[in-house]
Symmetry: C2
């Protein structure tokens, strides 16, 4: 599998991205195609990495965070974002990863890759594991602020397929996120979507509430991009508080766990919980737009 | 101040409610008007409480959780819910508290108390304190799944007034919960509401994201009842996980803090954090419908 990586965008510069790419190439059986300024990227790659499957593709332009996504994609055909997406289009890469302007990545993918047949809009799927329970996919986590019922049905289909292949769950349980578990709950969008999901071929388990998110009730959680983004960032915000607290408490917790010795469960739980809620560990959404 | 309490509804029966009422009468300078079956309530009140300002108002009927709110309110005029609301209407009580069927309480209030002038819909306001930062009001937390921009503006007005009087914040900062801080973010509802809030007399600080919830950025957080309810229950669900973990870790954390001795900050933080996220400590929403 070849993963194209936008090595020109992002907050921390090419060096950090290349470090991550090297780790990925060492740990997993993937070929990495770095996209960016060849001269800079060559300098970032130590000679010790020559045996790894890392290639470099030239991209002379960069799209900044503040740029208007569509305008930037159109005016910068040699940007790392557009060049990277085109590697996927040409079959030279299987996926494209970017920590740059999300909107630009979305536009470039939308314009150059096209959409999955039957799916009118791409959606942002994010795998979350806020507690030691099983991870789940939240979709849409922010790509579409206004949705129609058919869009949510389509998200459920692409989310289920993704969850099946990436999390290895054969028949993912699909839950519809709303303000109550009864079939009649929700706003108009949710009520209409509920009917569509009920009549679909998916394993629809019905409406779920915010309280179910931490319980591992569903493998795929369906929501519009507005609610989904608010929920995602609420979890991130609470996670941040706990990570800070973890740092504040420092070794005292480790000491406590050492004192109890055998209580491995508690040890694992706390660390899992804190790491699970730390979006720096689990950050990154997957723009589900096109498969080969 | 006289608080009418629905002593007939709820999951735990009259005895638990009366226990809470006694505590309230002892701790705060309030008169309590218990509403329910007189015989049963007399039995729940120990003779030692005769000196407290607790009265009993007869209500021979009870509305169950599974009943359709509007039908139940209409067919049960002697229910504790309707009788309690009527005490407020007649000026015999200043507020009504119920742990019963929320929809029924909403209907009874809507039908018998009417609405605040200029406010077309009642909203559910919930004070949340998920972290050691300042508490804030989330409104609407679930009364209106579908809203229009003018409703959200009205919620901002009643929420600000409530926060001013209850939390003692003179000019509460009002934030609009959405998927980004830029003015152009949000779905159509949020974008229109943003303009209304911008032109209002309120202290509107702009759009806020889910990540801001835990940071104490705003005193009043405006959202539609669907998103608000999902967020509220997401916080509750994560809180529940932490409360369970706290119990699991048990004394080991206390031991750890004892070892560190002087690190009072960490101690306070953990307990505040866990208690702050435990909805059994802070549960209950306020249906903002009518003032006298």
């Amino acid at each position: 599998m070849i993963i194209a990586i936008d090595a020109a965008s992002g907050e921390y510069g090419p060096r950090e991205i290349v470090r991550g790419a090297i780790e990925a190439a060492q740990e997993y059986e993937v070929n990495v195609a770095l996209v960016g300024n060849k001269t800079i990227l060559h300098k970032c790659l130590p000679t010790s990495t020559r045996k790894l499957n890392i290639s470099i593709t030239e991209a002379s332009q960069v799209i900044d965070f503040h740029e208007h996504p569509l305008d930037a994609v159109r005016s910068k055909p040699n940007s790392s974002t557009v060049v990277g997406i085109n590697l996927v289009k040409e079959g030279k890469a299987d996926a494209f990863v970017s920590v740059g302007n999300t909107g630009a990545a979305l536009c470039a993918a939308f314009l150059n890759l096209g959409r999955i047949e039957g799916v009118e809009r791409p959606a942002l799927g994010v795998i979350i594991n806020p507690t030691p329970s099983a991870p789940f996919l939240l979709i849409d986590a922010g790509a579409n602020a206004d949705c129609r019922p058919k869009h949510l049905l389509q998200f459920a289909h692409i989310g289920s397929t993704y969850t099946k292949h990436v999390l290895g769950i054969n028949t993912p349980r699909v839950g519809l996120l709303t303000n109550g578990t009864e079939d009649t709950k929700g706003n108009r969008l949710i009520q209409e979507t509920h009917k569509l999901l009920r009549n679909s071929t998916l394993k629809f388990i019905g409406n779920i509430e915010g309280i179910d998110i931490a319980q591992g009730t569903a493998d795929v959680i369906i929501t519009d991009g507005h609610t989904g983004n608010v929920v995602l960032k609420t979890i991130e915000g609470l996670g941040e508080s706990f990570v800070m607290l973890r740092q504040q408490l420092g070794h005292s917790i480790d000491n406590a766990l050492y004192l109890r010795g055998r209580d491995v469960l508690a040890d694992i739980s706390l660390n899992d919980l804190v790491n699970g809620m730390d979006y720096r560990e689990h950050g990154g959404g997957c723009l589900l737009i096109q498969t080969h």
